[in-house]
Amino acid sequence: MLETASFWVILPILSLSLALSFIRMVLGPTLPDRIIALETIAVISVGMIVVYAIATGEGVLIDLASVWSVVSFLSIIAFAYYIERWRSKL
C-alpha cells in the first residue's frame, strides 16, 4: 500500500513543488530569488530521496539524503558569499 501511495500520490506532489520552484528560478528578477529557489529545490529533492527510501524499503538511502543536505547547505553559503563580493549590480 505504501509503495503505491508513494509512487502515485506523494512523489507527484513533490514533483509539482519542484516544477513550481523551477518556475521561480527561471523568472526570479534578482539573483537572491534564484538562490532561494535553488535551496528549495535541494530540500525538496532530499524529501524525494526519503520518500523513495520508504517506498522501496532501502533504509541505506538516508545516508544519501544527509550527505546531499550537507552539500546543498555549503553551496548556498558559497552563493551568499558570492553575492556579497560581487561588484556589478544585481
Binding site: L16, P32, E39, T40, V43, I54, F73, E84
Partner: protein, 120 residues
C-alpha cells in the same frame, strides 16, 4: 495501523513542501519568499523523516534520520539569514507595501555621521 500513520505523515510533509513552493512563486519580494518558504520546507522534511523513522523502526537508521533533522534545522536558518542579509545590503528592493524600514533608516543615519561602514 503504523502504515496509515506513515502515510499521513508523508502526505502532510509533501503538502508542506507544496505550500513552500507555491509561496515562493506567489510572494511579492525576496524577504517574504524566504521567510515563508524555508520554514515550510523544514517542517515538511521533518515530517517526512519522522515517517521514515516510524517505517523502519531501527535504532541505526532512526538515529541518522534524527541527525539529519537536527542538521537541517540548524543550517537552513543560517543559510537564509546569510542570503537575506547579503540581499538587503546589496540593495534588493523591499515590497511597496512595506510599512517601515528601520534598518534602512539606521544605515542612512550612519552614513550621514560619516561612520565607517566597511565591515558590513
Amino acid at each position: 495501523m503504523i502504515d496509515l500513520l506513515v502515510l499521513a505523515l508523508m502526505l502532510a510533509g509533501a503538502l508542506f513542501m507544496l505550500v513552500a513552493a507555491l509561496g515562493i512563486v506567489r510572494m511579492p519580494d525576496v524577504f517574504m519568499r524566504m521567510s515563508c518558504n524555508a520554514k515550510s520546507v523544514i517542517i515538511g522534511l521533518t515530517l517526512l523523516l519522522l515517517a521514515f523513522t516510524l517505517h523502519f523502526r531501527e535504532i541505526g537508521v532512526g538515529s541518522r534520520a534524527v541527525a539529519t533533522i537536527a542538521f537541517i534545522a540548524l543550517t537552513v536558518p543560517v543559510a537564509s539569514h546569510r542570503i537575506g542579509r547579503s540581499a538587503y545590503l546589496r540593495g534588493v528592493k523591499l515590497w511597496d507595501g512595506t510599512i517601515r524600514d528601520e534598518l534602512g533608516e539606521a544605515l542612512e543615519a550612519a552614513r550621514k555621521n560619516g561612520e565607517n561602514d566597511a565591515d558590513r
